[in-house]
Amino acid sequence: MSSNTPHRAITPCPGCEAPALSRRDFLNRAHMGFGAVAFAGLASQWATAATPQRPPHFAPRAKRVIFLFMDGGVSHVDSFDPKPALDKQHGQPAKWRPDALSQAVSANRKWLKSPWAFRQHGQSGLWVSDLFPNIARVADELCVVRSLVGETPLHGAQSLLLHTGRSAAAAPSIGSWISYGLGTENAQLPGYVVLNNDWIPNGGIQNFASSFLPATHQAAMVRAKGSPVDNIGAADPAAVQQAKLDFLRAQDGAFAQAQGGSQPIESAIANYETAARMQSLVPQLCDVTGESVETLEMYGLDRANDYDTLYALQCLRARRLIEAGVRFIEITCPNTHGNNSPWDQHGQLKLRHAENARITDQPIAALITDLKARGLLDDTLVMWAGEMGRTPHSSGDDGRDHHVSGYTIWMAGGGIRGGMTFGNTDEMGMSAVERPLDIHDIHATILHQLGVDHERLTFRFGGRDMRLTDVHGNVVKELLA
């Protein structure tokens, strides 16, 4: 990872002499103020500078959330929901209950066994397939829910449902609700950050939007490649920008005064101070070059492939942002092939599921291990979820289709019970038959861990008091430690 340079070098005036500042001078100037302070120092400084937070409804178990979005739908029967019956009936014509929301794009469906072996891991003996060898090593932290039920076997609808609680209408994202409900721990940083991997999931940026909630609660996108945040790289050398800021301070101050000390003008002036600091803060937070070699290797930043290192980078950034006080972080998957959702393997299941697992498995396991080692896992809730599962049956021998009538997600940390599984699908992995849950129940449970009553977190819009969970959702107490 190259170091992020917050400011550009000075362009000499054409036809003029060399710049008056040497590079050394420039660097010194650039690092005046916030930039000169060490990272740890910064973090504590933010804590004191944080805006007043909104009090939770009751004592929280978790303070923040990391959401690992497995875009496209990981196959539950190939990852966390072993189905021995599938092995036995492999190749037999598939029949299932007509209410199963399972995409059957063609006739002649046959049961398809998993190409990955399942094993029990950890003291808890949690079942994880060989698809995720690293995540298997933190099995005792995982709370696996095998009985999620969705609404429609379509990516866009399910992705919006997972993010916003609505499959179609434009509603705020869960991250926006949490930012709105709890405020920010750090006034310098947004409450909701999406660590994106240069691919916008189905459903579009609506997945991350504040919708009718105030715009400050929309996700700040941090890109994996290139500049992490829009306009964060200073267009000017530090000294030049300083000259402009000095001019603005004087001129704007006079204007504010002439306007009778107008509050919006004063705020806009203050924003320039914050923005100037963010130019160095954000790149520093996103710059992981100061991390130890062991940490970099644990996350997999030393790996060969771009997708692998970028996903690892975003996972490591997630930990740094959590430390800095960001409330809700989502990490999206990179799209490696074509223009379909990353985990959407209607074909080439073995090849592409393995590839997606290779990209995500090690960094995710590292993130959980790292959070735990730093004592952060106790109050950081990690959720791993796709918008759907995949059909246990297939029209071919190496692909699975959309499936929402029973699929798996898992959570860890944040007062969630580790090393357990909850709910179950039928013997073929078709329908949730034991403790079916919908995403509203998961949303309600996450809010509960944050100390928020999902029925009391409301916002009036379009004539209604809107909720993340609409009129649904129950806290699932069995999942709580």
Partner: protein
């Protein structure tokens, strides 16, 4: 646990307060709710008497001052004249005034100086651009449909241009309401200069927003969601009513029953959401006359050539070797017949037997559904597009090859063909509804190419994925089946589907371009304007019994005198006779097949001899063809008199359906009235009731929007909700006075704007007095004009204008925003940093990723009606102004211009720059500050004092700093 589709509809607070208003007591609840203020007729109140001596400039002030007086408050002092000029320029055009304009006004002491300035700005073409953008927030304008693939909203930009023209020419708003709901059903309003049927364009208003691909047969609810969006936009936009609240149950607070929602759904579901041509007149008549003349010459030359080629044809046939792998199929072409006859000549009896069988089978199986060979042979079908208009031909029409070395592309049988003159002319052909309860199998004899498509449209789908591109040069039968459009399992209680067939060229296809890669479409194919199709007949038949070739053209082979000749000569003579009939203009469909066969087999010459007359004619045809103007098309709607009432969705479900509801307006606004044509959708009657002079909401809602745009907040501060959960008007009598006067004055936006800005209230200073602030901190009484941050577009446009980069041209296709990261898979391409200098209005609004710079300054994400914009104040905005490449590019552009201004001193240049940006003369200390910045920047860059005026980067820094001034992006 899971309740499909019933998302987000319950209003919880209201439900707690009122309990569920059950159907049996709804009538009494409803009657009570009808007493709500916004449902009362608009009455024009008398002007209040005001004692105070403040100068009232017009009626507006009488109402405002009376209310202030009642609270013992005073209005603010009049605004400074230059501030007023700047305020007016932004309010009317969204652009800053030049320093000349503001100086001119400041020094003009004539009593009517202000009125003159208002008139000048009302007459500016930028007025229409600015007010179009306001309305675009309400209809949530976007150029694409978001969801998974961000499919294009078909030529939505033409609707944006329509708004610009409409506001510039002050088309009565009442007319715009009619057009945006039922523009296809009213007397067309033609814009003579643009040559457009404006009314038809208006309907794009309702088509904006998120649209899924697929249809109800793929996933129940796809169309209903679109209808919910349409009803929501229409309700909030025109009526300030949250109609969509009633999708799942009776409205919890307003006088809208769940039945009302489904009455409206019935209207909208009875509408075909087609793409249509909007040219008011045929622009191509002269060019087509010229093409006809040239084509006649080509045909004469070709006939001469082919008729002289008989001997050559015989030789060519003889040269064709026997086909070792000849199939058992009965021969249907000249060449196949020759090959068959080489071994065992086809016996007359065998031919006669086969022919008789086919004739008999056809007779038994086929039922003619539509005959396009006759001008009126396809009742119930409708065509659109100038290609179709000019495309009805008799047997033997030739199509000139538009590229390559061939003279002709093909010979056409009688029918309707979009490419008779050019593949660039549009065509659409749409069927009546099929019987949804029975499966219908039918065959179409068609040919098509260049991504012309056929699609079954199920339940008014917008982006049907039943669409298939057809590539078929010679006409052939294609068998299709309508009726087997399944649904998701579980949806047992659904209404029968509406299904029709659509054949369309690219420009009349709702779903072109479709999502990336669909149907093998390459991105390079999109820019190719060409696309064509045509057809002869459609026959219904039992499955597996398609029309058979009756082989009539081969019959003469077995009759004397031909039967006596050797086979090769016999075939050549058969062709020759067909060519003779063709050359005399007497040929039939069978002759056309023979000739096309011969062309396919290269038996007839079709090349262009160099420097020949034929080559010249073809070149001339191709040149002339380029002068054709392709049809202008846009997503709009049509009413096919196939209206059907909808059933209530129980708790909003798409699959659990209750009673049928007569389609029409909501009960409180007249309900389902008698339709002029009983089978009509009812959209016309709906539009008329909304656009009615006595509708209590429409005029109130619109004048409130205009007030909001001019004053920063509305008299009703919830412009999209005049119901119980909206805010009541601060000045109900003023609102009524304005609404009544607006209607009296013919629903004229310009008159309304002129009156409002002429008021002393609007011309107040933005400096509040302390006393007023203490009593009314929110300024609901308008004791001063609020200081306002510019809207996103005005910020960007101001930089374009002040830097000199603004391209003031109106209209046209949108420009992609500049993007740091593109996504070709969603067609999220990047455009030039400076946006080609075009106003923000012309930046492409992709729903999936709206322009970021504008979004940072609160341009609403165009997913739903947004009559009121957020005004956030966040560090992202500072970052954008400090670092966004557009801002830097504008600063650079400005600096290169000022370098050539011939200013003798840095002070003079600095002064001019500040004046240009702020529309006021700067104070000496301001000039000194800017010069100091320039000096500091120049010295950092190593410039000497004497070269200061030539140090471009330093002046770029000055320009950049000026853009960052709070004064630059605020209006007093």
């Amino acid at each position: 646990m899971r309740e499909f589709g019933a998302s987000a509809i319950l209003m919880l607070v209201a439900a707690l307060q009122l309990g569920a208003a059950q159907a049996n007591d709804w009538e009494s609840v409803y009657r009570d709710r009808l007493k709500w203020w916004s449902l009362q007729p608009v009455s024009k109140p008398a002007l209040p008497k005001v004692k105070a001596a403040w100068p009232a400039r017009n009626e507006v002030d009488r109402f405002i001052h009376a209310a202030l007086e009642a609270k013992n408050l005073k209005p603010a002092a009049p605004a400074d004249r230059r501030a007023l000029a700047r305020r007016l320029s932004f309010a009317l055009t969204g652009l800053p005034p030049s320093i000349e304009l503001s100086d001119g006004f400041a020094l003009d002491t004539a009593p009517r100086a202000f009125e003159r300035l208002v008139q000048r700005l009302l007459d500016s073409p930028h007025f229409g651009e600015h007010w179009a953008r306001h309305w675009m927030d309400v209809v949530h304008y976007s150029d694409t449909h978001g969801y998974e693939w961000d499919a294009p909203a078909k030529n939505a930009w033409m609707y944006r241009d329509y708004l610009v023209r409409a506001f510039n020419t002050d088309v009565p708003f009442r007319q715009l309401v009619l057009e945006q709901i039922a523009g296809d059903l009213i007397e067309p309003r033609i814009d003579a200069r643009a040559g457009l049927n404006e009314s038809l364009i208006g309907l794009m208003a309702l088509r904006m927003g998120e649209r899924r691909h697929g249809d109800n047969g793929d996933a129940e609810g796809v169309t209903q969601e679109a209808m919910a969006d349409i009803i929501d936009t229409m309700g909030k936009g025109f009526l300030g009513t949250t109609l969509a609240c009633a999708q799942c149950h009776n409205h919890k607070l307003d006088a809208v029953a769940q039945r009302d929602y489904y009455a409206l759904t019935g209207v909208m579901m009875s509408t075909r959401w087609n793409v249509r041509t909007v040219d008011a007149a045929d622009a191509n008549l002269a060019v087509i006359a010229a093409l006809r003349h040239i084509k006649r010459g080509i045909r004469t030359e070709t006939a001469e050539r082919w008729l002289g080629a008989k001997e050559g044809v015989t030789e060519k046939i003889q040269a064709i070797p026997a086909d070792v792998n000849a199939t058992a199929a009965f021969p249907e072409t000249l060449v196949a017949l020759w090959k068959k006859s080489l071994k065992t000549p086809l016996a007359p009896e065998e031919f006669a037997r086969e022919r008789a069988r086919r004739v008999a089978e056809n007779k038994a199986n086929l039922k003619l559904l539509a005959d396009f060979t006759r001008e009126t042979g396809a009742p119930g079908w409708q065509w659109d597009g100038s290609g179709m208009h000019h495309g009805w031909v008799r047997d033997g029409e030739v199509v000139v090859a538009d590229e390559g070395t061939n003279v002709l592309a093909q010979i056409l049988p009688a029918g309707r063909w979009s490419h008779v003159w050019s593949q660039r002319l549009a065509g659409a052909l749409r069927s009546p509804l099929f019987d949804a309860n029975s499966t219908t199998t039918f065959s179409v004899e068609l040919a098509a190419g260049k991504h012309a498509a056929r699609s079954f449209i199920v339940d008014q789908a917008f982006h049907s994925e039943r669409m298939q591109f057809i590539s078929q040069l010679t006409p052939r039968w294609q068998t299709l089946t309508a009726g087997s459009f399944s649904s998701l399992e579980g949806s047992v209680d659904r209404a029968p589907r509406r299904v029709y067939l659509e054949l369309v060229t690219k420009s009349l296809n709702n779903y072109f371009p479709p999502r990336i890669g669909y149907g093998g479409l390459k991105e390079s194919d999109i820019a190719d304007e060409r696309s064509w199709f045509g057809l002869t007949q459609i026959h219904q038949h039992p499955a597996g019994k398609p029309p058979l070739d009756e082989l009539a053209r081969f019959a003469p082979l077995f009759d004397t005198p031909l039967a006596n000749e050797p086979w090769a000569a016999r075939l050549a003579s058969l062709l020759h006779a067909a060519l003779q009939r063709w050359s005399r203009g007497e040929c039939g469909a069978e002759d056309v097949r023979l000739i096309n066969d011969a062309l396919d087999a290269k038996l007839l010459p079709n090349d262009m001899p160099p420097r020949s007359e034929l080559a010249k004619l073809v070149a001339s045809y191709r040149d002339t063809e380029k002068q054709l103007r392709p049809d202008r098309t846009i997503g709009t709607a049509s009413d096919w008199l196939e209206g059907r009432d909808e059933r209530v969705g129980i708790r909003g479900s798409y699959t659990q359906l209750g009673a049928e509801v007569p389609r029409g307006n909501i009960a409180s606004l007249g309900g389902a009235v008698a339709r002029a044509q009983p089978a009509a959708s009812g959209r016309l009657e709906l539009a008329r009731s909304i656009a009615h002079d006595r509708n209590p909401l429409t005029a109130r809602v619109f004048v409130n929007r205009v007030w909001l745009h001019l004053f920063g907040e509305g008299l009703v501060r919830t412009p999209d909700d005049f119901g119980h959960l909206g805010q009541p008007p601060s000045h109900p009598e003023l609102l009524d006075y304005l609404a009544a006067r607006f209607v009296e004055e013919g629903w004229s936006l310009k008159k309304l704007v002129a009156m409002l800005v002429a008021s002393a209230t609007w011309q107040q200073s933005s400096l509040p007095n302390e006393a007023a602030l203490n009593v009314d901190a929110e300024n609901r009484l308008w004791h001063h004009m609020p200081l306002r941050r510019l809207e996103a577009e005005a910020i960007r446009d101001s930089m374009l204008r002040v830097s000199g980069r603004l391209d003031p041209r109106l209209h046209g296709a949108p420009t992609n925003p500049h993007r740091a990261a593109t996504d070709d898979s969603k067609r999220l391409h990047s455009g030039p940093i400076d946006g080609d200098g075009r106003r923000s209005l012309y930046t492409k609004m992709t729903l999936m990723e709206p322009p970021r710079f504008l979004a940072i300054f609160n341009q609403p994400i165009p997913k739903f009606a947004a009559g009121h914009r957020d005004v956030t104040n966040v560090p992202d905005q500072a970052l954008a102004m400090l670092n966004d490449p557009f801002v830097i590019a504008m600063a650079k552009h400005w600096s290169t211009r000022v370098l050539k201004d011939g200013a003798p001193t840095a002070e003079q240049r600095a002064s001019r720059m500040l004046a240009a940006a702020l529309a006021r003369p700067p104070a000496p200390e301001e000039i000194a500050r800017l010069v100091q910045l320039v000096q500091r920047s120049a010295s950092l860059r190593g410039a000497k004092v004497e070269t200061l005026l030539d140090c471009q980067p330093a002046w770029q820094d000055a320009a950049h700093a000026i853009f960052n001034l709070k004064e630059f992006i605020h209006v007093q």
